[in-house]
């Protein structure tokens, strides 16, 4: 017994080291499976406050480019207004429209929630974006996030007033995307090297691909509305083993300058999940 106590007192700092190392490694590797579980509420609120104060200063310097981006988006949206299209009247008898506009609400699938970006990294291999909008303002884990110019990522952590987004520039990013012109489906991921480029793999060889083609989110996604811009094809290479194309995409978003984001809520998610859960596999 005395020897044990002697041993403990002699190597106390080694024991403390091993304990602290164990604790931090546990946090680190646990994090991979349960994103942000440890850091969800209290710490997010705390660091979010500091980051928000700082981003207030920082956004000031990029107001000009940010304005240009928003103006471009406004112009694009305005061009889609009903009033911009005119056609000669060809009707010969009055028809009363039976669909009231208000009733369309029940068919709405996606709602865009605007949000300010208060934290963003591009240097790490797992990058995160922090938004000043949280559970109280309708953000939930798993929602998609876009910016005025394209896809940003997925919400992985929510506290009362802040949320953390797994950036597209994250080693674990997997998004199904489709070539807008050729129509081949593939998977977007990031190799951690250059924040300007992401990888699109598993595109079938039958697809016609050209440099500069737009890549957008697919209509199979639960989270992303179809047609959200991911990037543009920059380099094309062929995977000899699987016989598929591996493409390098230039991201549509300039990840170094992200100041506004939209969190996207899928209103039909509950029904989709319920349907999926109700299906019983024949073997069960």
């Amino acid at each position: 017994m005395r020897n044990i106590l002697l041993f403990i007192s002699r190597y106390s700092h080694l024991i403390v080291l091993l304990f602290l190392q164990g604790l931090s490694l546990h946090l680190l590797f646990r994090y991979n499976r349960f994103h942000e579980a440890v850091f969800s509420n209290v710490l997010n609120e705390m660091t979010g406050k500091v980051r928000e104060g700082y981003s207030g200063i920082e956004t000031f310097f990029s107001l000009r480019t940010e304005n240009d981006l928003l103006r471009a988006e406004n112009a694009r949206l305005r061009n889609q207004l009903k009033e911009d299209y005119a056609w000669p009247d060809s009707s010969s008898r009055p028809v009363s429209d039976t669909i009231r506009i208000d009733t369309l609400v029940q068919y709405r699938k996606f709602v865009y929630l605007p949000s300010r970006v208060i934290g963003n990294t591009v240097n790490a291999e797992r990058n995160h974006i922090m938004l000043h909008r949280g559970a109280k303002q309708g953000v939930e884990i798993g929602m998609a996030v876009t910016s005025p110019s394209g896809v940003l990522g997925t919400v992985i952590g929510v506290s009362d007033n802040m949320s953390v987004v797994m950036s597209l520039l994250h080693a674990q990013t997997r998004i199904v995307a489709v070539l807008k012109r050729g129509g081949g489906y593939g998977e977007v991921s990031w190799d951690g090297a250059d924040p300007r480029y992401v990888q699109l793999t598993k595109i079938p060889r039958t697809t016609e691909v050209k440099k500069g083609d737009s890549v957008v989110t697919s209509q199979y996604s639960d989270k992303y509305p179809p047609g959200q811009l991911v990037g543009f094809v920059e380099r094309i290479s062929e995977d000899p083993q699987s016989g598929t194309f591996d493409l390098v995409l230039r991201t549509a978003v300039d990840f170094k300058n992200v100041h506004h984001a939209y969190v996207i809520r899928n209103l039909q998610q509950g029904e989709m999940d319920a349907l999926r859960n109700s299906i019983k596999e024949p073997n069960d």
């Binding site: 602290l20 604790l23 931090s24 710490l43």
Partner: protein, 177 residues
């Protein structure tokens, strides 16, 4: 008490610089991630006990992790260098530590070459361990070696600049004061 306040202030300043300056600047190269924050641990007083050193380093690293969303990563690297620090000091400084009169490691208190070796070794250990932990989850071997060396080089440069810009006025303590 003023010493305590000084270290708290220093801690906040290092975290601020690391989070809002060094992590915000566009990456120079994929291998280069500049770090400066660990200098806080290297600058802690000689007299800090080993256990206290470990605990301070752990919570300091965890604080940085909270900002960078990497729970445990920097905390692990910090506790490692906090553990190695006393060994390196005792090897480099044959005199009984604390008798030298200066409160904390600096090129004045240790001499230029021992202090340089001290910084170099701990920087290397820090980056080696930090990159190893990242590498275990992700990346290739060449990336690992390149990252350790490149990041160590850039961080050493940052430490040198910090030493030149902020000359710490560490007074020679005598019994008179």
């Amino acid at each position: 008490m003023t010493d305590f306040l000084k270290h708290i202030l220093r801690c906040c300043l290092f975290i601020f610089v690391q989070v809002f300056l060094l992590n915000e600047i566009p990456p120079l190269h994929r291998y280069v991630t500049p770090h400066l924050y660990y200098l806080f641990i290297l600058w802690l007083p000689f007299r800090t006990s080993r256990i206290a050193l470990l605990l301070i380093a752990f919570f300091y690293g965890l604080m940085l992790d909270a900002f960078l969303h990497t729970p445990g990563l920097h905390a692990a690297a910090c506790t490692l260098i906090a553990f190695i620090r006393p060994f390196i000091i005792s090897v480099l400084l044959p005199k009984e530590v604390g008798e030298s009169g200066y409160p904390e490691p600096s090129y004045k208190s240790m001499g230029l070459i021992p202090y340089g070796t001290y910084i170099l070794l701990l920087t290397l250990f820090h980056h080696f361990y930090l990159t190893l932990l990242e590498w275990l989850q992700f990346g290739g071997f060449l990336v690992f070696i390149g990252k350790v060396l490149a990041s160590t080089g850039v961080s050493l440069l940052l430490v040198l600049i910090t030493e030149l810009v902020f000359s710490r006025k560490s007074n020679y303590r005598t019994n008179m004061s």
